[in-house]
C-alpha cells in the first residue's frame, strides 16, 4: 500500500470514529499552536475549535493556577472575536492577560455566585456562537456537566476552555474524574534558561497533554506565551522529551 493510500485510509477511519462519537466530520476547524511538534500530536492539527478543552496547573499551589491561566489566555488570544471569561473569584490581574495577547477590549468577565450559575453562563456563552472563546474557572466538573458543555461548544462552534483551578492544597486532582473534554492539558512552571546578565528570561513551562481524544498523551517543554499568545518549543531541550520524538502518525504509517 502506498503512503498516500494509507493516509487516506487512516483519514477515513478517523471520520468514521468521529461519526461514532456523534460529531459531524466537517467541524474539523482547529486552532493551530504554530508549533509543528505539538500540532502533529493533535488529531485535528491543533485545538479543535468547536470543543471543550481542560487546562489545569501542575503543582500544589497557586503557581500552577497562574501558569494555566496564562496558557488559557494565550489560546483565547489567538481566536477571533470577543472572549467571555467566567469566574467565581476575581483574583485575575487583567494586565497579565493583556501581556499574553488578550487585549482588555476583547474580554467580558462574568462573576458568578456559585459553580452552578457559572456553568450555566459558560454554556450560554458557548451556545451564543459569536464569541471567539469562552474560558471558565471551574473547580468541579462532572462527566454530565462536561458532556453538556461539549455539546454546547459543538452547537455554537465556539472554543471552550475549562480552567481547572486548585484553590487550596487539600483539593483532589482535577483530572481524577473522567470528562467529555477533547483534550486535557496540564501546565507546570519550569526553571527558565539562565541569562548572561542578571534578570529573568522568558518563562518556561512543562506542557502535558494528559488526555487527547483520538490521540495519545504527550509532553512538551515550551517557552511561555509571548505578547501575541504564541508558545514555542523550548530551544535545545526539545529532544529531551521522548514523547515529542516518536509519533507523527501520518508520516510514519
Amino acid at each position: 500500500m502506498s503512503a498516500s493510500a494509507a493516509r487516506a485510509a487512516v483519514a477515513d477511519l478517523r471520520d468514521r470514529i468521529r461519526r461514532l462519537d456523534g460529531r459531524a466530520p466537517r467541524d474539523r476547524a482547529a486552532l493551530s499552536f504554530g508549533v509543528p511538534e505539538i500540532d502533529a500530536r493533535l488529531p485535528d492539527g491543533g485545538l479543535a475549535l468547536a470543543s471543550l478543552h481542560e487546562v489545569s496547573g501542575g503543582g500544589d499551589d497557586m503557581t500552577g493556577a497562574a501558569a494555566a491561566t496564562l496558557f488559557a489566555a494565550a489560546v483565547a488570544a489567538r481566536t477571533r472575536g470577543p472572549v467571555l471569561w467566567c469566574l467565581t473569584r476575581a483574583d485575575l490581574f487583567a494586565p497579565a492577560l493583556a501581556q499574553a495577547g488578550l487585549a482588555p477590549g476583547r474580554v467580558v468577565y462574568v462573576e458568578a455566585d456559585d459553580e452552578k450559575s457559572l456553568l450555566a453562563c459558560f454554556e450560554e456563552g458557548l451556545r451564543h456562537g459569536g464569541l471567539g472563546a469562552v474560558v471558565a474557572e471551574v473547580a468541579r466538573l462532572s462527566m454530565t456537566a462536561s458532556r453538556r458543555l461539549q455539546l454546547a461548544a459543538e452547537a455554537g462552534g465556539t472554543l471552550a476552555l475549562a480552567l481547572r483551578l486548585r484553590r487550596h492544597r487539600g483539593q483532589a486532582d482535577a483530572y481524577a474524574e473522567p470528562s467529555a473534554a477533547v483534550t486535557r492539558w496540564r501546565v507546570t512552571a519550569l526553571p527558565s534558561a539562565p541569562l548572561p546578565v542578571p534578570g529573568l528570561g522568558r518563562a518556561r513551562w512543562r506542557l502535558e497533554l494528559v488526555r487527547c481524544r483520538a490521540g495519545e498523551a504527550a509532553e512538551f517543554e515550551v517557552e511561555a506565551a509571548d505578547a501575541e499568545g504564541r508558545i514555542a518549543l523550548s530551544s535545545g531541550l526539545a529532544d529531551r522529551s521522548p514523547a515529542a520524538r516518536d509519533g507523527r502518525l501520518g508520516a510514519t504509517a
Binding site: 491561566t69 487585549a103 482588555p104 458568578a112 527558565s192
Partner: protein
C-alpha cells in the same frame, strides 16, 4: 411643596375635618416633641404650642403624590408596586433583591434615596404583606428584614393596632386586656368573631399567609402596555412561552410607533387565585428585536409559579428609550464584530448586571488601582497597560507579608518564606519602583514600593515588593510583601 415648604424645625401640623371638629391629621417631629399628636383637636394643640404653624391637609394631592412615588419605585425596584394609602408603598421584592445586593441593602438604599429627596421613610421586608406592614410601622428603625418563617414570632410582641384593624376594634381588644398580637392569638377565635366580626380573623390569617392578599399594582398610562386574557387558564411553560412571544410581537409594534426601544420589560401574570407573579428583564441598550426580547423573557419563565393557572398576562415596557435605526449588515460578510449585546443581557438578567463587566486600564502606577470595571458594552478605546514590566496573572486581594533573607540593599531577596514554604530565589528582575499617589492620598506622601519578579528553584515566579518610606527603601530597610504570582 418644593421650595415653599417650611423649614424642618417648624412646629407644623396638618389640619383635617372630622365632622364639625378640626383635628390634627399629621404632625412634624418638633411639634410631636411638644406634645401634639395625631387626632388631637386643633384648639387643644394651639393651647399646647402657641407658635404652631397649621396648614390644611390635602388628601387628594397626597394620594396623587403617593401614586407618583409608587411609579418611581416601579421604575427602580420591582415590577409589582402598589400605593398603600394614606402613607405606604407595597413593593413585591420577590426575585429582585438579588439585583440590589440583598434585602438589607435594598431597604437601606431605598430609605436613603427617599431621605435624599426629603422623605423620611421606614421599610421592612417580610414573607407576607401583613407582617411587612406591621414591621415597617412598628419595628423598622429605619429598616427591618424579617427572616423567612419568622413572621409570627417577630410580630407577636406588637400591639394589636399593627394588624391594620379599625381603631374601634383595637380599643375594644385593649378593653379585653388583649394588648399584643401574641395575646390575641392565645384566645379562641370564635368568641372574637362574635364580638368584632370576621375582619379581625382575616387580618390574622393574612399575617400568617393563610389567606392570600392581592395587591393592585400601579401602572403608568403613558407606558407601552399590551395585555392578553385567556378564556381557559394556562399553566404549561411552553404555553406561557408562546403567549410571551405573541405579547412581545404586539409590544414591539407599539414601541415602533413611538420610535422607542425597551430597556426594561415587566411581564405580569394574573393567576386565577388573584395572585400576581412577575418577570422583570433589563437590557443594556434599547432593544426592539422580538427574538431577543422573547428569549430574555422565556429564560426567566422557570421562576414563575402558575399556581392553579394564569388568566391574563400583561407586558409593559417600564423603561423605554429612543431607538435609532442602525445599518444591520455590511456588504462584506464576516467582517463585522460579533454582536454580544444579546448574550450580555441574557447573563445580566440571570446573575445581575453588576456581575458582568470588562476591565479597562486606569492610569495609575499602583498595580491594584490600575484596573477598573466598565460596562461590558462600553466602547473599546483600544487603551492598554504599559507593558514594560511583566505583570502577574493572579493578584492577591491584599499583599501578604513574607519573611525574607536579603543580602544587599537594592537587590532582590536571596530567599523568602510565604505561607509557610521557604523558597530560594534563583533569578530575579527589578526593582521597579512605584511611588505612592501623594496627589490623591496624604498617607502615601512618602510611600514607595520596590517590585521584584523572582523565580525559585522550581521555576515558579512571584511578584514581591519591599515597602517603606523612601529613605528607608534607599537603605534597604522596609517590610517585604508578596503581591502576585506569575506562573
Amino acid at each position: 411643596m418644593g421650595a415653599s415648604a417650611p423649614p424642618p424645625e417648624t412646629r407644623l401640623v396638618l389640619v383635617g375635618r372630622d365632622g364639625a371638629r378640626r383635628i390634627v391629621t399629621a404632625v412634624s417631629r418638633p411639634a410631636e416633641q411638644a406634645g401634639v399628636h395625631i387626632g388631637m383637636p386643633l384648639a387643644k394643640a394651639h393651647a399646647l404650642v402657641p407658635d404652631l404653624v397649621t396648614m390644611n391637609a390635602a388628601p387628594a394631592a397626597d394620594a396623587a403624590a403617593l401614586t407618583r412615588l409608587a411609579l418611581w419605585a416601579l421604575g427602580h425596584y420591582a415590577p409589582i408596586v402598589a400605593a398603600d394609602p394614606p402613607d405606604g408603598l407595597v413593593i413585591d421584592t420577590t426575585g429582585t433583591d438579588r439585583l440590589h445586593g440583598g434585602e438589607e441593602r435594598l431597604l437601606t438604599g431605598l430609605v436613603n434615596r427617599l431621605a435624599a429627596s426629603g422623605i423620611t421613610a421606614r421599610a421592612a421586608i417580610a414573607g407576607t404583606l401583613g407582617a411587612a406592614h406591621a414591621a415597617a410601622r412598628f419595628l423598622a428603625d429605619p429598616v427591618r428584614v424579617v427572616p423567612p418563617g419568622g413572621e409570627a414570632e417577630t410580630v407577636a410582641g406588637l400591639p394589636v393596632a399593627a394588624l391594620r384593624i379599625d381603631p374601634a376594634t383595637a380599643a375594644g381588644l385593649r378593653l379585653l386586656g388583649l394588648d399584643s398580637i401574641g395575646a390575641l392569638r392565645a384566645v379562641p377565635r370564635a368568641p372574637l368573631v362574635l364580638r368584632f366580626g370576621t375582619g379581625l380573623g382575616l387580618r390574622l390569617d393574612q399575617l400568617d399567609g393563610i389567606v392570600a392578599e392581592p395587591v393592585e399594582p400601579v401602572r403608568d398610562p403613558e407606558l407601552v402596555t399590551v395585555r392578553r386574557a385567556f378564556g381557559e387558564p394556562i399553566g404549561a411553560a411552553e404555553t406561557i412561552a408562546r403567549y410571551a412571544g405573541l405579547l412581545v410581537h404586539d409590544l414591539c409594534r407599539g414601541l415602533e410607533r413611538h420610535g422607542l426601544g425597551a430597556r426594561r420589560l415587566d411581564l405580569l401574570f394574573s393567576r386565577v387565585d388573584s395572585g400576581l407573579q412577575a418577570i422583570r428583564v433589563g437590557t443594556a441598550l434599547p432593544v426592539r428585536d422580538e427574538k431577543r426580547l422573547t428569549r430574555l423573557l422565556c429564560d426567566r419563565i422557570e421562576t414563575v409559579d402558575p399556581g392553579f393557572g394564569i388568566e391574563a398576562m400583561d407586558l409593559t415596557a417600564t423603561l423605554a428609550e429612543p431607538l435609532c435605526g442602525r445599518q444591520m449588515a455590511g456588504l462584506i460578510p464576516g467582517e463585522e464584530e460579533a454582536d454580544i449585546a444579546g448574550l450580555v443581557d441574557l447573563i445580566a438578567n440571570r446573575i445581575g448586571a453588576r456581575r458582568l463587566y470588562r476591565l479597562a486600564p486606569v492610569e495609575s502606577d499602583v498595580p491594584e488601582r490600575s484596573v477598573h470595571r466598565v460596562s461590558p458594552l462600553a466602547p473599546d478605546d483600544g487603551a492598554g497597560w504599559p507593558s514594560r514590566w511583566p505583570r502577574p496573572a493572579r493578584l492577591l486581594a491584599r499583599p501578604e507579608a513574607i519573611e525574607v533573607m536579603a543580602l544587599l540593599p537594592d537587590h532582590p531577596p536571596a530567599a523568602f518564606t510565604w505561607r509557610g514554604v521557604r523558597r530560594m530565589v534563583k533569578r530575579a528582575d527589578g526593582p521597579e519602583r512605584v511611588f505612592g499617589e501623594w496627589w490623591k492620598r496624604d498617607a502615601e506622601r512618602a510611600a514607595v514600593r520596590d517590585y521584584f519578579a523572582v523565580e525559585d528553584e522550581a521555576g515558579k515566579r512571584f511578584w514581591v515588593f519591599r515597602s517603606g518610606a523612601e529613605e528607608a527603601a534607599a537603605n534597604g530597610k522596609g517590610r517585604w510583601f508578596l503581591h502576585g504570582i506569575f506562573a
